[in-house]
Amino acid sequence: MQLSSVTPSAGHGVERASTFMTLRNILILVVIAASLAFFAKGYVLFQATMVLAYAIALVGLNLLTGYNGQISLGHGAFFAIGAYSLAILMNWDVPYWLAIPAAGAISMVAGYAFGRPALKLQGLYLALATFTLSVVLPQLLKYKLFQPWTGGVGGIVIIKPDAPFGIPLTSDQFCYLFTLLVTAVMFVIARNLIDSGTGRAMRAIRDHQMAATSMGINHQHYKSMTFGVSAAFAGVGGSLSALAVQFVSPDSFTMFLSISLLVGVVVGGVGTLWGALFGAVFIMFVPELAEKVSKDAAWAVYGLVLILLVFAMPKGVMGLINRLHSKSVARNV
């Protein structure tokens, strides 16, 4: 399996996607999302917050897997590192708006430290190495030596922050709007990164590492940096989810989370930025939906939905949207 050449054509999707996702469309999307804070209540608002948190993590994983061609089955681990960093920092009375970037930075260091030695591994071997991370981390979090920080099996409770400056919002509403703001910032960062020279270097390495190297691209630097940045995104997503759940424990970050994240990337569209939103919706809602369809065989329904989606849209939701969009453009011309 040659995962080093994931999707050579995905690069073109970026340019087309950006024509579809115009500034106007994005603004409309943000306004709709923000107004949700005043219509939705309780559990729905919580779900929406989680979707945004997952979306950030998916953008991160897509930077690594979709744009740089490095597969990761271990991003749940960086999600967990972000969540735990936030929980531990907030227990030390660090304010949440400082703890979230700190969580991202800690995850970034962890990602770089893992990505550097993993440079030698490709495709399947990298998949195994990253998968190891997602298996190992929950065990480490439970380990008794780290218990003073991690709280062991019991985990850590976090208190949701109230809205600052006396703004009349409930803490649920504020948490959602704050997550939305961070999501918007992270998407802008990701888009600028993808469109920059660095982004081109990342894609060049994905499409043909040797050719990229001979053009003077330092693939070791770019690959391990991408690993770090990608982990930072996952960490920020994880810290926001911890804030929404108000609790972290080792069992929330099993290897299934890592697998779900990879599935989310595929469903949204490998090598697309906006696909992350659709992937996050899938991660959040399909398991619940499956449970409603059949209690006994919920995961069979999940698997079936996943396979049907891949059959219907082999390049993910964004792949389909881009195709429809370019068709309608062609018709108008």
């Binding site: 480490l140 595929v266 891949v310």
Partner: protein
């Protein structure tokens, strides 16, 4: 010293199981260039089918052969119906389909056969001559079966035209097609063989770990590690890797860390080995043509 020998023996016994499944993984990689994450669950499902047949009153060997042939056909059918239509889809989409298959088999097995632990009979009688104080007859038998399969596979891939054709179809589908090889048919055959080997592995594992829908999850991780540590393109490597992982896991669990971190340390060590030898211990480094 005595505990050391004992632990090595226990490690070799579980290593035989890992080796069996690692072989199935290597097999499907040789024949299709995919690693099927659902392999373990498919093996578990096959074992449940064998169990049902035995419960229905069939003899062990009748059930054994019916299951192996049935798994061959079912796996080939899965290739034909689900994997083949996706031959143009991105690589990761195929991975997602494997994950989908995994959860489907897992969930359906729990639904149809129930989630309680069941006993599965061993084909080797308890007081056979090859048993000893260190290993039970079943454990020795499992290792023997694994070695037999690898010998047969080695001969098949190395010395038969069909084996050569299958390897060619997996490595370079385009050129193979130009030479008149029916690539699709070869891939289907590869899936079928992998399913059959998986079924044998499942039936060898089940008497040891007991039969339940989750029995393969841990085993698959170790088997995957074994296959990679030996080199994913090498059946002999899979056997060596499987045994190595089994022994390492046991020794580390006994002497270095407790059972809490056994999996952790074993996996970290495996990744360490891979960083030093990125293609596995016995794997070949592929040279890329520019």
């Amino acid at each position: 010293m005595e505990t050391l020998i004992q632990q090595v023996a226990v490690g070799l016994a579980s290593g035989g199981i890992y080796a069996c499944l690692a072989l199935a993984l290597v097999m499907i990689y040789q024949a299709t260039h995919h690693v099927n994450f659902a392999q373990g669950e498919m093996a578990m499902f096959s074992t449940f089918v064998a169990w049902t047949l035995i419960q229905a009153g069939l003899g062990y060997w009748a059930a054994f052969f019916i299951t192996v042939i049935g798994s061959f056909i079912a796996s080939a059918a899965i290739e034909f119906a689900i994997i083949r239509p996706l031959h143009k889809a991105p690589e990761l989409s195929v991975v997602a389909v494997f994950i989908g298959l995994l959860v489907i088999f897992h969930s359906v097995a729990g639904w149809v056969f129930g989630t309680e632990l069941r006993e599965f009979p061993s084909p080797f009688s308890k007081d056979a001559w090859f048993g000893g104080s260190l290993m039970s007859p079943h454990q020795v038998g499992t290792i023997f079966v694994a070695l037999c399969i690898v010998a047969a596979l080695f001969a098949f891939f190395r010395h038969t035209t069909l084996g050569l054709t299958m390897r060619a179809a997996a490595q370079n589908p385009g050129s193979s097609r130009l030479l008149g090889i029916r690539v699709g048919r070869m891939l289907m055959l590869g899936w079928g063989l992998a399913g059959a080997i998986g079924a044998v592995a499942g039936m060898m594992v089940a008497p040891v770990v007991f039969l339940d829908p989750g029995m393969m999850t841990g085993v698959l991780i170790y088997a995957f590690a074994g296959a990679l540590i030996g080199g994913i393109d090498n059946p002999v490597g899979a056997i060596v890797g499987g045994f190595l992982v089994g022994v390492l896991e046991n020794l580390l669990g006994t002497y270095v860390v407790g059972t809490d971190l056994k999996l952790t340390v074993a996996l970290v060590l495996i990744v360490g080995v891979l960083i030093v030898r990125p293609a596995g211990l016995l794997g070949r480094r592929t040279v890329q043509r520019v």
